[in-house]
């Protein structure tokens, strides 16, 4: 028998989920509009804005750059995060606590400040645009790999690694042959999150992109600011969403849904 409280909670949940999901659904729906402006309900479906998206040079190159940047930064960030997690997995004490806080700090540090700070540093040392963006996204993405691998590595039975070493394997061989095969689901889900964060990242890219070197989210932002909300933006957004859906689906097949909902 549902109480008044539980009915209210169910209603609040329905409203909240609608407010969270509807704006995203509207964007996807708008992308398939046949007309110049989005009409609701739509008069039909067409692919014209997707074709327009790939015809625009700046959109296409921003998309390509975003994919390259996300692939490269997620890979570097995950490798570094994994190293940090393996270092800290079996360590306690003050220094380990400080290091652990440092490794997750970029998660809560206001990224807009990191963006300004890196811009000033790059201007002083003369950093090329792409490398600068790449390093920024490595900093922002590293905590994800660090956390997921740390959770996997702490759940590991230490006797497995000891067995490897007592059988004569060096630390590197033990890492590659024993530890990595056991923690790779953590590594993969960390990589997924680092990729997703880089692919949608705004606050450092806002300052660190340059003329001709722009990421897709920043291209969408400047298009909206200076050319208004044309439907090619809906198509660009839908492509952003589609790539994430595909990636999450692939990783879910490999490591399972529970790991993804936990990894955040």
């Amino acid at each position: 028998m549902p109480t008044a409280g539980s009915v209210l909670r169910a209603a609040a949940t329905l409203v909240a989920f609608a407010l969270i999901v509807v704006p995203i659904l509207i964007v996807v729906l708008a992308a398939f509009s046949p007309s110049d402006y989005f009409q609701f309900p739509p008069p039909g479906l067409s692919m014209r804005w997707f074709i327009e998206f790939f015809r625009l040079d700046n959109m296409r190159s921003a998309f390509a750059l975003s994919v390259e940047l996300a692939l490269a930064s997620a890979t570097i960030a995950t490798i570094l995060g994994t190293l940090a997690a393996l270092y800290l997995a079996r360590r306690g004490g003050m220094l380990a606590n400080i290091l652990q806080s440092l490794f997750v700090a970029p998660l809560v540090f206001p990224t807009i400040i990191l963006g300004v700070a890196l811009l000033l540093l790059y201007k002083t040392i003369g950093m090329p645009v792409f490398s600068g963006l790449l390093l920024a996204h490595c900093v922002v993405g590293m905590p994800y790999g660090f956390r997921t691998v740390l959770a996997s590595a702490q759940g590991l039975d230490p006797s497995l690694e000891e067995a490897g070493q007592s059988l004569g394997a060096g630390p590197l061989r033990t890492l590659v042959l024993v530890t990595l095969p056991l923690i790779w689901p953590g590594v993969l889900s960390g990589w997924l999150f680092a990729f997703i964060v880089s692919f949608g990242e705004l606050n450092t890219a806002l300052f660190l992109t340059g003329p001709g070197v722009t990421t897709l989210p920043i291209e969408i932002f400047s298009y909206l600011q200076f050319q208004g909300s044309q439907l090619v933006i809906a198509a660009a957004s839908s492509i952003q969403i589609a790539l994430i859906v595909i990636l999450v689906a692939v990783v879910e097949r490999i490591v399972g849904i529970a790991r993804i909902t936990r990894a955040r």
Binding site: L19, Y37, L83, V116, L120, K123
Partner: protein, 283 residues
Amino acid sequence: MRSAWRWFLLAPPLALLLVFFVVPVVYLFWVSLHAGSTSELYGASLTLRNYTALVGDSFYLTIIGRTLAIAAVILGLCLVIGYPVAYFVAMLPPRRRMLATLVLLFPLMVSNVVRAYGWVALLERRGVVNTTLHDLGLLDAPLALLYTPSAVVVALMTILLPYMVISIANTLAGLDRRYLEAAQALGASPVRTFLHVTLPLSAPGIASGTLLVFLLTLSAYVTITLVGGPRSKLLVSMIYDSVTAFQWPRAAALAFVLLVLALAFTAGMLALLRPGRVQGSAR
């Protein structure tokens, strides 16, 4: 050999964070302590003027006040809406709870510029809300919904709400039900059980949700600009404007004001909610 191996693990990630996270933030602070310069990034003389000018300027104080007010409203709404939703999600059977978490998690993976654009498409003059109301005969002239502080609040609140719901739901789902049964067995009403048992035990989730929502609100330049328009300026917009005007020391000082607000809020929240006092709270 063993210590060489340890360094091999620690050195690369530590180097990345030191060189591209710690050093730039320290450098930013150093720049904020200098006068502006037309030819260089910053002038030669050390000064506190960038900070004293902010405190003495009612324009900046108004903007800081407005930033805090908007953040407070967003936070309040996220708590009031997020808590019952989190409670509902936490009480679902495990499979459905996982599904609900995934529905909440997915929007967080979509870029905020896309989610803000969704709100622009809904609220603009020829947007979904206006045209639908018009077609239903409820509206003669389109309402000016976009570029208002309320639009910023609604858009940012819904963009950040999943963080609050997931944080609280995680804590509630891990709660030992025997505490609630004990309270009820001892004769406490549902309201009393909630106020004296459930709510205090969910402090860790409330703390992490509150911190995430507040800190992300402070940084949300793109959402604020797209939905709030050129006139609803917040602290983060002033940072961006100073950067585009090449006023580096001022931008740096404003960034540090934002950082101090973030740190003060974090410290205040942790002292108020003391999430660590709840036993067995991993998060």
